[in-house]
Subunit: 147 residues, 2 copies
Amino acid sequence: MITNYQGLDTLRAHGLRLTRPRQLILDVVRATDAHPTAAFVYQRVRRRLPRVSLATVYRNLRMLAAEGLLAERADAGGMRFDGNTGPHDHFTCLACGRIYDVPARAERSVRRRIAARTGFEVLDHRTEYYGRCGACRRQRGRSPVTR
Amino acid sequence: MITNYQGLDTLRAHGLRLTRPRQLILDVVRATDAHPTAAFVYQRVRRRLPRVSLATVYRNLRMLAAEGLLAERADAGGMRFDGNTGPHDHFTCLACGRIYDVPARAERSVRRRIAARTGFEVLDHRTEYYGRCGACRRQRGRSPVTR
DNA sequence: ATAGATGCAAACTCTTTGCAGGTCG
DNA sequence: CGACCTGCAAAGAGTTTGCATCTAT
């Protein structure tokens, strides 16, 4: 029986339980930095819990994101999930499609500049980089990874 | 008969035609800064060409993006299109969901910094801002706009 | 005990594709 | 004529939902 788990208290505060499917789903997303899709999470969870349903995976991913234990990210081809909820930016490799985490530039001046120009209230910002990752710079013409 | 139109030469160079549906689709996307969905474009084009099909709208949006006359953008709830193909950033209003264009900060140093840290080749970067737009700062609790 | 969670299947939304007919150059 | 396009309908992919059953607290 689990007594301590990152985010457990958050769930309990909202009357939510840490069931076995839920915990496995959270573990899978947290264990990778590949920004997995729901389908990927489903495959992985099934290894340990073969009877889990895709609906359960979707329900939990959405719910865990709403609770702030996961981050969601729109992408061509579907939503992706990220166990790293701290501030960080992303690098998308145009050759293989992989999305890497990169340290965030938490420059306050960046937000202030936009706020000054638009009059909007800037609460957050995130930068997306595009290019070729280290692996793809070496192996030219490699086929896209399974996402 | 149109003899001059931004992007016409690009299309012709690839053996593509500027048909009436295609031109209307392009015009609709270019006429707004609301980063419209395919469904929005479809509705608008139908006003002038009632028999157009949604398939034609999708085919053309995708093709025009491939030709570089439009930009595509993944978003929860579907793809969005942008007639502004120049470098610019986006501000997403968390209250009303609208996406505004903001001038890009084309700082070379930003890319160099990431390249140095990761060893990746950075070809492009884009920043996403999140917050409350001017309209929403004034009217609290307004309902989300139709996207 | 009981609110919350699950599996299954059906439904839904967004997007793509096959095809026969139409159009531009 | 020949390549390109279109509308229509059907198919695909990703995601959500209704419901009876099960389970964590």
